[in-house]
Symmetry: C2
Subunit: 331 residues, 2 copies
């Protein structure tokens, strides 16, 4: 059983911080492995500060399932590099000119160069994965990477498509976000040499946490305020991405209401996202989405029951509580 | 020693043809491994007919270094998928609307979708590479893939850059084209279980052949006619890519001539590619490039001296003679 949550002395962020520093250093060291002509570009890309959620999961799971080793750090680095490569490509797709207040590679060097830089980073990450001398692990990392791409493809393909079901939505976000979270925690357990049951439980932990986090992100996109989040919001609806709050709303709408929603969502006329968000909130569609996410977070927490008590296990629990807090802040 | 070239009964293309059919079938079968929503896109991408040079090299080397096995076919499939992924991305970068008379993925579904489809194909290919149960092989394939990206990055970065040296040029084309050719023949020898000397010799064969082939392609871009090649030509100079004939020309130019070239190449004013091609031809810069390529082809042929005589070895020799013919046709 896991230890009492309230007794934790360090926050998961304090616990992981010294190890994340190693991740940061290693990410920046990767640039040396590129051609001198390519290095400056990679330095720019690798010098950004992400939230490093995937390395955090790899590190905490590493500590919670055995002894935290260099292998767990490496796993975190590789998954973060894959994630960074997808961000470089996402920014091209979205035509984004800044990310975290910094000009995107496509804004700095054009789309063509950004495509190639993402590719080079991606193939570098997959090359690094072979250093584990564990083919299953390499395979799982390239599979997870493929899942991320496929999730994005499905979501792009089904923009402005009112036949998207909740099942479709969950499949898309499991691929798009869940896959790398699940790889982080699931493969960290594998690196610790734990048995199939623990590896699967930890894979489930990451998958559920990632899915819940994506729902949170999707809710914020609809009802958040840009002042608080510091992000451009309402982009999902603008791009015709139907996320859980909207799917919930469509589910409970009368035929007449559905017609109105269709006009607002598909024809974007009038596309007043504040009003659409207001309706989704009023009808309980946002609350329902948050409830679903909260349930997933609870299930993620449940996946930890096989682990021995340790500060790392507590931290993994605390992360679920942290996401719960995020969800509550939306209510 | 290799057998007498003139005694060959089958052309390399006849010899490889039944095996290439397997490659074609397998390439088309890959689509089943994708999500049903992604499958139709992949079917479209996998249904195009390339020259399949990389699988041809993998197959012929497989036969020439041992028994041709399914592993050699798989290697050909994986390298062709990597190549196809890079073509999907190249077409975005070049804004190409057709390839081999067929609309490109970016023309059909937009740049964003094409970025993702290339990524998914790429990660799929690297996933397939783990099925060899040979980590060195997986690592070599992701390294070769990274080289291709880096070669493209360097070439993009150094467009309109008159400080590009021949050494830079060779490095770029070795990465861009040589790396996958070298992986095809070098790793095929590895799959046959041959020793380091043979693997290196065959790696060298592919590298030299690929480099020579790229020089041929670069020469055709300058002096070829679109009626004969069926390709849009002069694109390198338009994009500011300085290829070997132009680098040769710059090498022998007087300061005054250099000034004129700079105007034509960098300021593209006047950019009459026919005239530039004519000058390069007149000054012997094209011939010199062809000579360099011919020398590389001869070296590639020399790499075969360690192999036992067989129809496959003869076919590998014949391919070098075929490239020699291509080079002669430019004179």
């Amino acid at each position: 059983m896991t230890s009492n949550i309230s007794s934790t002395e360090k926050s998961p962020f304090e616990l992981v911080s010294p190890h994340l520093e190693k991740v940061e250093t290693q990410i920046r060291e990767q640039v040396r492995d590129f051609d001198p002509g390519v290095e400056p570009y990679m330095t720019y890309i690798c010098d950004t500060n992400g939230k490093r959620i995937r390395p955090t999961l790899a590190i905490l799971t590493g500590g919670a399932t055995g002894e935290l080793t260099q292998g767990h750090i490496n796993l975190g680095v590789i998954l973060e590099l894959v994630h960074m490569a997808t961000l470089v490509h996402d920014d091209i797709i979205d035509g984004a000119s800044t990310r975290r207040q910094v000009p995107t590679p496509n804004a700095k060097w054009g789309n063509g160069m950004a495509v190639l830089l993402g590719d080079a980073l991606f193939s570098h990450a997959l090359k690094l994965s072979t250093d584990f001398n564990d083919l299953e692990l390499s395979r799982a990392i390239s599979l997870a990477s493929r899942e991320v791409c496929q999730g994005e493809i499905l979501q792009t393909q089904r923009r402005f498509d009112l036949t998207v079901t909740k099942k479709d939505y969950f499949r898309m976000i499991e691929m798009k976000t869940g896959a790398l979270f699940a790889a982080a925690s699931g493969l960290a357990a594998r690196i610790s040499g734990r048995d199939e049951a623990i590896c699967e439980a930890m894979h489930g932990y990451g998958m559920k946490l990632g899915t819940a986090y994506q729902i949170y992100d999707d809710v914020v996109d609809i009802i958040g305020t840009e002042e608080v989040t510091g992000k451009t919001l309402g982009t999902d609806l603008e791009k015709g991405k139907l996320t859980l709050p909207i799917l919930n709303l469509l589910d409970t709408a009368t035929p007449k209401q559905k017609e109105k929603l269709t006009k607002r969502i598909i024809e974007q006329e009038p596309l007043d996202l504040h009003i659409l968000g207001g309706i989704a909130d009023y009808e309980g569609a946002v609350d329902d989405a948050l409830k679903t996410a909260s349930q997933l977070v609870a299930e993620a927490r449940g996946s930890l029951s096989l682990l021995n008590a340790s500060e790392f296990t507590t931290a993994l629990e605390d992360i679920t509580l942290y996401v719960d807090q995020l969800l509550k802040s939306c209510r």
